[in-house]
């Protein structure tokens, strides 16, 4: 370890998804942290953005946070690390962020600096070759081994980078790193591990910081937090004036969005948090000791995410007020489904109904079986290969609710209400086709780190 401690600021749990708060970031930047780190991705947003290769975060918000961090980091001369560029961490999103960084350098007339970036995209051919050679692509979360059919249904695949490409980029002398899809923990752990801090503490610090102020209380998102690592502990401090990092908030965050609070897996191993000890260090700071890194035995496994297009999609909306129709809504929808089947047959499309007022939010998990609502909102989705067909299926599936034949209905002039006489085009439907791991001898075979010099500021 070249230093006794290393400090990291994180302003946002998902850069671009909602803008970071300025006051707590400025308070944190004033303390001159050693690294400015933020992850910009999530699989929470569903399979559409990866499959269709687009961001759900607005460009202006992405630029806002990158600008806030870049200006502070370059002014101070501290490295800045961004993981999972543009929500998905695909090649086009990395290119987008690299361009934003160049534009910002020009805008602020920055002195030249070194920018490293890497892509996480995995060619389908790479996995097909592995399958052809009889190599297993292991499933996660109860999934079976990847099949050729699932691979063929997939449009785009990214590998989730661990610390490896970030350490490489730091070794190359990068001042700013824009990463493809990555473990959000890795962007914090990489500099600490590279400098010789214990792996267990380094990964643990990443886990605590990655969602920024979600590890603080009271609840308030997009506020900056600072983590400090030493050879013995991790201390995490809330920067916003109204928040504190407490034993409860930091321990509570260890289980956030994870199926188990004691174990966290990443490329190369696992952190065992069974013996973590939490204590209140000062008013706004919680101190943690005891996480242990358990390296994987054998080959390193890298997580893969893949998304495949199901089809073009349209959406229709219908309202129901008649009490008898509400009571028999399942029969009404069966009728509408039957009409679609008569027209389009059994296969080659998908038709979904979400019945708000009954079980629209929870579906099969809804314990309340009898709706007490006096009105229902039905959202119909039709998915098919072409837009024309998706539109017609959705139109049929929505409009036939209006014509449903039920013997006891008093109103014979239509059993549904429409706010507008059309169905609406939606972005295509996608599905997570891959949630698997691939075994590699060297994780860098999936990530190619490139270094460029950004001189845009100087040419002005």
């Amino acid at each position: 370890m070249s230093n006794k401690s290393m400090r990291f600021i994180c302003p946002n749990g998902h850069l671009g998804f909602a803008p970071s708060k300025r006051e707590s970031f400025d308070l944190g930047a004033k303390t001159r942290p050693d690294f400015y780190c933020c992850d910009s991705g999530s699989s929470d947003i569903g399979p559409g953005p990866l499959g269709g290769d687009y961001s759900v975060s607005p460009y202006e918000w992405q630029k806002h946070d990158l600008e806030m961090m870049l200006v502070a980091a370059r002014k101070q001369g501290a490295p800045m690390i961004i993981g999972s560029a543009g929500d998905t961490g695909t090649r086009s999103r990395v290119d987008l962020y690299v361009q934003i960084i160049k534009d910002l350098a020009r805008k602020h007339k920055m002195a030249p600096f070194k920018l490293a970036y890497f892509y996480s995209d995995v060619p389908k051919e790479y996995l097909k070759n592995k399958l052809d050679q009889g190599e297993a692509i292991e499933g996660l979360d109860g999934r079976k081994e990847l099949t050729l059919e699932e691979l063929e249904q997939t449009n785009r695949i990214v590998a989730v980078a661990g610390i490896h490409p970030y350490i490489k980029a730091l070794e190359m002398g990068a001042d700013v790193i824009i990463g493809g899809r990555s473990s959000d923990i890795a962007i914090f752990a990489a500099p600490a591990i590279k400098d010789g801090f214990p792996e267990g503490l380094s990964y643990y610090m990443g886990k605590t910081l990655e969602c920024a102020s979600f590890c603080a209380e009271p609840y308030g998102a997009k506020e900056s937090v600072i983590g400090e690592i030493t050879a013995e502990d991790v201390k995490v401090t809330a920067m916003s004036p109204y928040q504190r990092c407490t034993v409860a908030s930091v321990a509570g965050h260890a289980m956030y969005e994870r199926s188990n609070p004691y174990f966290e897996y990443m490329a190369g191993g696992m952190i065992d948090m069974t013996n973590c000890h939490y204590e209140q260090y000062d008013e706004k700071t919680c101190r943690v000791t005891g996480p242990v890194f358990v390296p994987i035995e054998g080959k390193i496994k890298v997580k893969l995410e893949g998304s495949g297009k199901v089809g073009e999609r349209f959406v229709g909306i219908a309202g129901i007020r008649d009490p008898y129709t509400i009571k028999h809504i399942d029969k009404v929808l069966d009728w509408a489904r039957e009409q679609v089947k008569e027209r389009f047959g059994e296969e080659g499309y998908e038709l979904y109904y979400n019945v708000y007022g009954k079980n629209g939010v929870m579906g099969e998990l809804e314990p309340i079986k009898e709706s007490k609502s006096h009105e229902l909102c039905i959202v119909c989705q039709g998915i098919a290969e072409t837009k024309e067909m998706a539109e017609e299926i959705t139109m049929t599936g929505t409009r036939q609710i209006f014509y449903a034949r039920l013997p006891e209905v008093k109103g014979t002039a239509g059993t549904a209400a429409f706010g507008f006489e059309e169905v609406l085009p939606a972005t295509a439907g996608y599905k997570w086709t891959i949630n698997h791991t691939v075994s590699v001898d060297d994780p860098m075979e999936l990530f190619d780190v490139r270094l460029i010099e950004v001189k845009e500021g100087k040419t002005q």
Binding site: S43, D44, I45, G46, P47, G48, L140, D141, G142, R143, V247, A248, A251, G252, A254, M255, Y256, E257, R258, S259, N260, P261, Y262, C276, Y278, E305, V310, R313, E350, Y352, N354, G360, V361, M362, G363, E364, L365, E366, P367, Q381, I383, G429, Y430, K431, W432, N435
Partner: protein, 108 residues
């Protein structure tokens, strides 16, 4: 025996995706006493959760009592991955409300 609703004892009751194929549920208490009360009552168990949500117990991947955070946590497999067409809760963030009304027995 007298009962109290879980929502009146817990500080946080939430649900959220744990990856693309699972939803995880957290029940967090401010006071150790309430945590111990609920934990020892046995009302939050794999069996009861399965019954409440109308699923088989093998849909529950993890069930953990997490003492450092005074929290009970369990995770279920989704039927389809998050955000598949027809999924109405891509983030898995509105699957917790049935927990709010769970009756917890307390001493009179």
């Amino acid at each position: 025996m007298k009962t109290v609703k879980l929502t009146d004892l817990a500080k946080t009751i939430r649900s959220k995706n744990a990856g693309t194929d699972k939803i995880t549920f957290d029940i967090i208490f401010r006071e150790k006493a309430n945590y111990e009360l609920v934990k020892n009552s046995g009302v939050i168990s794999k069996e009861n959760i399965a019954k409440l949500y109308g699923i088989t117990e093998d849909r529950i991947s993890d069930f953990v009592e997490f003492d450092p955070a005074y929290a009970i946590k369990y995770t279920i497999y989704r039927k389809e991955p998050s955000g598949s067409p027809g999924d109405a809760d891509t983030f898995g963030s509105q699957q917790y409300p049935p927990l709010l009304g769970i009756d917890v027995p307390v001493k009179d």
